[in-house]
Subunit: 345 residues, 4 copies
């Protein structure tokens, strides 16, 4: 299977290369960039010295169609909305890591992203690639919208509660924390080392563009889901997301009962690990891997459930999940090329 | 004013020395330790080389009473419950930075701390030293219970909402994050560098001993406060606490209206700074200082208020607030010796 | 004494404000910026919210002369070479924190900085402000060149060896390490959090512009000093410099003998602390303070001396030393306003 | 090929598991620990939840010989000196990651490690496993001493200079820096997060136990090598070593000429990457991989060569190199199971 990567200069693109290098069935043919075409890629990413020696190539759908079967788009928002129709026209399959194709309602996209939405027929065709829950649709997808990093952690953490209608919907609070690689590779005051190191920040309060994506997925499980409260914080670390989620249980539970429900929901999903009672995952425990680890507790004092979900934002939150979707689209075992043990410590 | 510090080998004790060094009215006479008496203090803390050249002294209330007027206890929990009665007997005033004297109900202490509580007459006499709201009581205190780090950030952040009955009490969620110095100076697997660096953890879910302390203070403002949901996370940084707090508003607000209420509540409190609309504090912005900075927003989509409160856990969350209380007890301006600008970056 | 700060938006400028705030004799009247005039300063530095409420002012030497006696220049290189003559013309004293006025030989400046040098009469007049060794000149200075961060750590560490001719000059190696705040506040790929965190880099090998500055100072003590080998590394931390320095001793020593020489050299210098045998300083032990801490050892196996010198690059390496020079220029005790205990941990 | 790991609770052991998991020819049969036998291993390392579900087993050479062919010893110093003879007696091959079997001279071991040395016949038999230079010996080894982390970075960086006699031997200085995982997993004041974060330390000045190991290897290439000056520093990061090395060239060179010599020396060694002129590696560029990356420069001003060598201390500095040696001992391609791309960022 031959693939190309567009937007290879970002962290999502670099992570695709790291992971696909181990993939027995996929071969990266070309790396593309609109801004840095012609540059030797390993000058931008010296960790690939002697590993990837080619230059970045410009983006020409017609030429790409001659060489590859599928294109990974690891571009900033606002690119794949325009590029996907051109790639589709050339008969190319697309896996889009950006937010452009995730929201079914183009008004939502324009409100939260403040950019023009992709054409409606593309939005309708695009399959939202959360493999643990939408595997059948993914199997037939030709255009795949890879979920956002936060939405992956959040929806995997909440799925059993919503699917089985266990919580009072108006009590849901999601407090999420991310490492700084999630902000991308473009330098800015907000990602300047001396401003972030030994510091902890909150950002985009009530305004994060992942809010409508989370709501859209939750509503597939329960239409009555109300507008959610979702906060995002920046942790002085490179990789990792933790979502801490709170909701009132509809009835009394024990932590054991809830864990049983989660084990049941996830024991056949190879990349979701549910932790035993009293144990909660930390972000480093999934570092560099495609796992989403979940811990939870029921508090008898308050009647509230706390669910903790962690991922590596560049793997399960981006490139790893994209490859998991690629595997499913191609009829491969979804674990192909993704059986990395987390890098610890 | 002559003072002694007991428990000088911990971070709270070291921070008292840093801050009192600038205090024009207080003089540290002796540093005490039960475990390391006789040790030259600057061998334990080389940043004090040539600044504090004396040795650590053992703890003898009778001898201490001959030399000082007041004792700061910066000890682990379980010490001041026993030591405070002895110091009181010698006529010494006490400011206790540990959790031993904060909870009025000794059963609460024993349940959450799993240790024997202090005698009831001590618990009754001890004044809870949150200077922004209990200044009058502090003025007459002889035994002062200095608030915990998390409770300081949380209660300052929530006070106006509860005092003015603005939120639905059963909707309150507190998601708190702390730097690692809050865990003290004793080495452990949980504070080992390679386990924490580039990592983000949740700990003591539903079990943190600051839960009853927060509830006790909130109930002084509104007796109907229910058991709270309070989570604590460890951030890979040295100093700083952020509490992100969520609650449904009882009626519709604008962010401006809420900020106005907070400005009104705090504009005469020198160490609380309320940020303008759209701006939220980060922990580094109070690093090394006695400030508590607060930002907030009302979300029209959800009807929820998000309040963000940050402190330096070792200053406003420990030694700085202890000195602020000392100032009030001694009839000084509460800012005396505490007018540090945060260290940034 | 009324002062102005030009280049207030950089870290050196912000640190001058933090430190001068405690200075009993200096008053900051205005903050100046060429790029951000009109901006409310605390919007750029929110840690100064409610502390410094004024806007940034443009740079007009004539107007400045009406209001202040002395100007601190905390500008990037290439500014004060042009601005200092104008300020001098208005009768203003100048303390320049940039590299523009440090090198006596304008060809050296142009070679290493790749910019036009300041006029020769300015370079001749400018006094190099290393207070521990050039105090008398500083007392009469009207234009002061504040030393670079690396040169401060290096020359204080080496002074006794060179002044007393104890080492073979052609064996001197300086391996220096710095926190990232030394790179300034402008975002760049080189200071992007995700590129630096959990990473250690070497930069500007054999090309750092502090090389001629160090050589110039060392040659004041020993004209025979040869071109030095000086390497700089970036440490994933915010503040702090360590210089590890190696040289062959001219004759056999014991570590004790060398320490005695250093104690003798520095015991009357309030900001240099020499550590006892077997103890070496770490950068955090001077964090936020104006200290330079030094440790050393003589190795009998190799005949080499290792000297370790640490400073806070923003304090003794910039703003703190500038104030120390200010004190001396103004006839004050050099410690005035600088008696901060390091912030630890 | 069936293997066992002794000392699995340390970071070296955990890294062996991560890497061997991808090895097509090796199978880990049992994990052993003297201190924590019986413990479920993934309780100690939750990142292995659902991946390694077995318990730790005690150390019984006779039992081990029934199940495996080779034992990796990832134990602290002082263990394998005693255990290796017992394993050998059972016919087991040994790869020892500790320092016990590296020094041929048992007096050196006892002087620098302050422990009893292994029996001389074991020391004589043990092959020092630096695969780039001693591959032939390794092919026939039954007892393999895996090099230390610092010695790996240092000797790979210096090999061409010494083998080709290009430097003045008495001018060699090695300034090395390491991430904190090198200090192991046992908590201590020296590895306490709040003491190390945002801090930079030097340690074991002139006393590091890797000094005789480095000298021993260098003397295989040039007997005249004199006692070296070797300093070690602790960087606030988890993984990575950089060695910055300085020496006077015996004659004049250009940087290009030296790079040519290094390319020649290493172009057939798959895990050593020499960087082009003007480019130096940073530690993150080899993170999680078995690469040793090298950059260098010749300084015409001083006649000195600067060589910079970086490795991941847990991979090329421990577990990865052990597997590279395993591959060679077993007659496999040395890259087998080690073709990981570095994790970046």
């Amino acid at each position: 299977m031959k693939v190309a990567i567009v937007g290879a200069t970002g962290y999502g693109g670099a992570e695709l290369i790291r992971l696909l290098n181990h993939h027995p069935e996929a071969e990266i043919v070309t790396l593309h960039s609109s801004s840095q075409q012609g540059l030797k890629y390993s000058e931008s990413y010296p960790h690939l010295h002697d590993i990837w020696n080619d230059n970045l190539v410009d983006i020409n759908p017609e030429e790409m169609a001659k060489k590859v079967d599928l294109v990974f788009l690891a571009t900033p928002s606002g690119i794949s909305s325009k590029l996907t129709p051109q790639l589709k026209e050339q008969g190319l399959k697309v896996i889009d890591l950006s937010g452009d194709l995730r929201l079914k309602n183009s008004e939502d996209y324009e409100r939260w992203y403040k950019k023009d939405a992709a054409p409606n027929e593309i939005l309708e065709e695009a399959v939202y690639g959360l493999p643990e829950w939408f595997k059948e649709e993914i199997q037939n997808a030709e255009i795949l919208a890879n979920p956002g990093c936060y939405p992956t952690a959040v929806t995997l953490g909440l799925a059993p509660l919503l699917q089985q209608d266990l919580i009072a919907l108006d009590t849901l609070i999601i407090d999420a924390k991310s490492g700084v690689s999630g902000a991308g590779r473009s330098p800015s005051a907000a990602t300047h080392f001396a401003e972030l190191n030994d510091n902890f920040k909150i950002y985009k309060v009530n305004q994060h563009q992942h809010i409508p994506e989370i709501e859209q997925t939750l509503r597939r499980w329960n239409e009555a889901v109300q507008p959610i409260t979702f906060s995002t914080h920046l942790v002085p670390m490179t990789r990792g997301i933790m979502a801490t989620m709170y909701a009132k249980a509809k009835s009394e539970f024990s932590t054991e009962q809830l864990l049983e429900i989660y084990y049941e929901a996830y024991h056949e999903k190879p990349f979701v690990r549910v932790r035993p009672k009293g144990v909660f995952p930390s972000t480093k425990e999934v570092y560099g891997s495609n796992y989403c680890d979940i811990g939870l507790a029921y508090d008898e004092r308050t009647g509230r459930i706390t669910v903790v979900s962690v991922i590596d934002n560049l793997v399960k939150g981006a490139a790893g999940q994209a490859i998991q979707n690629f595997n499913i689209m191609m009829g491969l075992d979804e674990r192909t090329g993704l059986n990395f043990i987390p890098v610890y410590p």
